[in-house]
C-alpha cells in the first residue's frame, strides 16, 4: 500500500499560470518535505513542515509556497511557473527530523 502519495504524477502548466501539487501520507509522520529535482541531480530541499511549523530553505524562491492543512496533506504552490521550474517534485515524510525519509513517486512538472 502506498504510504506517500503524490498527485498528479505528471503535470503540464503554462508559463506564469499558477499550479498546485499535492502530497498525502498514511504514516502519520510529523515532518513533510518538498524537494525539487532536475535531471541527474540530487533532490534540492525547498522547505519542510514540522507539524504546523513551516521551515523555508534560505535559497528557495518566493515563487514557491506550501500549505499543510492537516497532518496527512501538504501542498506545493508555484505562483508563477517559469521554464526553469520544470522538474520532478518529490514529497517526503519522516517521523522526526533525524529519522528515515519516505518518498513519494514524485510529480513531473512541465512548463510550456
Amino acid at each position: 500500500d502506498a504510504m506517500v502519495i503524490q498527485n498528479p504524477r505528471y503535470q503540464v502548466t503554462q508559463f506564469g499560470k499558477p499550479v498546485t501539487l499535492s502530497c498525502s501520507q498514511t504514516l502519520n509522520h510529523n515532518v513533510m518535505y518538498w524537494y525539487q529535482q532536475k535531471s541527474s541531480q540530487a533532490p534540492k530541499l525547498l522547505f519542510h513542515y514540522y507539524d504546523k511549523d513551516f521551515n523555508n530553505e534560505a535559497d528557495t524562491p518566493d515563487n514557491f509556497q506550501s500549505r499543510r492543512p492537516n497532518t496527512s496533506f501538504c501542498f506545493l504552490d508555484i505562483r508563477s511557473p517559469g521554464l526553469g521550474d520544470a522538474a520532478m517534485y518529490l514529497c517526503a515524510t519522516s517521523r522526526d527530523m533525524t529519522y528515515e525519509q519516505y518518498f513519494g513517486p514524485g510529480t513531473r512538472l512541465t512548463v510550456t
Binding site: V4, A42, L45, M97, T98, Q101, F103, P105
Partner: protein, 109 residues
C-alpha cells in the same frame, strides 16, 4: 547547508565490475544515510550508519562510515543492471539530513 561532495558524479560500468562511491565533507556528522533512487521513482533508504568506523553490508553493497565521521563510502561488488540508479548520501547535520550531490550509476549488461 553543509558542503558535501560525492564522487564520482557519473559512473558507467560493465555488469560484474566492482565500484566505490565516496561521500566527503569537512564537517563531522552524527550519522549518515545512503539512499538509492531508481529512474522515475523517489529515493529509498538503503542504510543508516552511526558509529565512526562502522561497516554495514546489504547483500553486495558495503557501506562504511569514516573513523572521524566526516566521510562515507559505498562499495558494490559484481554490479548488476538492477543496481542502476542515483545513489545519494545524506548526512545528519545535527538537526536534519541533507543530500549530497549524488552519483548516477549505470550498469551495462
Amino acid at each position: 547547508t553543509q558542503l558535501l561532495e560525492q564522487s564520482p558524479q557519473f559512473l558507467s560500468i560493465q555488469e560484474g565490475e566492482n565500484l566505490t562511491v565516496y561521500c566527503n565533507s569537512s564537517s563531522v556528522f552524527s550519522s549518515l544515510q545512503w539512499y538509492r533512487q531508481e529512474p522515475g521513482e523517489g529515493p529509498v533508504l538503503l542504510v543508516t550508519v552511526v558509529t565512526g568506523g562502522e561497516v554495514k553490508k546489504l547483500k553486495r553493497l558495503t557501506f562504511q562510515f569514516g573513523d572521524a565521521r566526516k566521510d562515507s563510502s559505498l562499495h558494490i561488488t559484481a554490479a548488476q543492471p538492477g543496481d542502476t540508479g542515483l545513489y545519494l548520501c545524506a548526512p545528519n547535520t545535527g538537526n536534519q539530513f541533507y543530500f549530497g550531490t549524488g552519483t548516477s550509476l549505470t550498469v551495462i549488461p
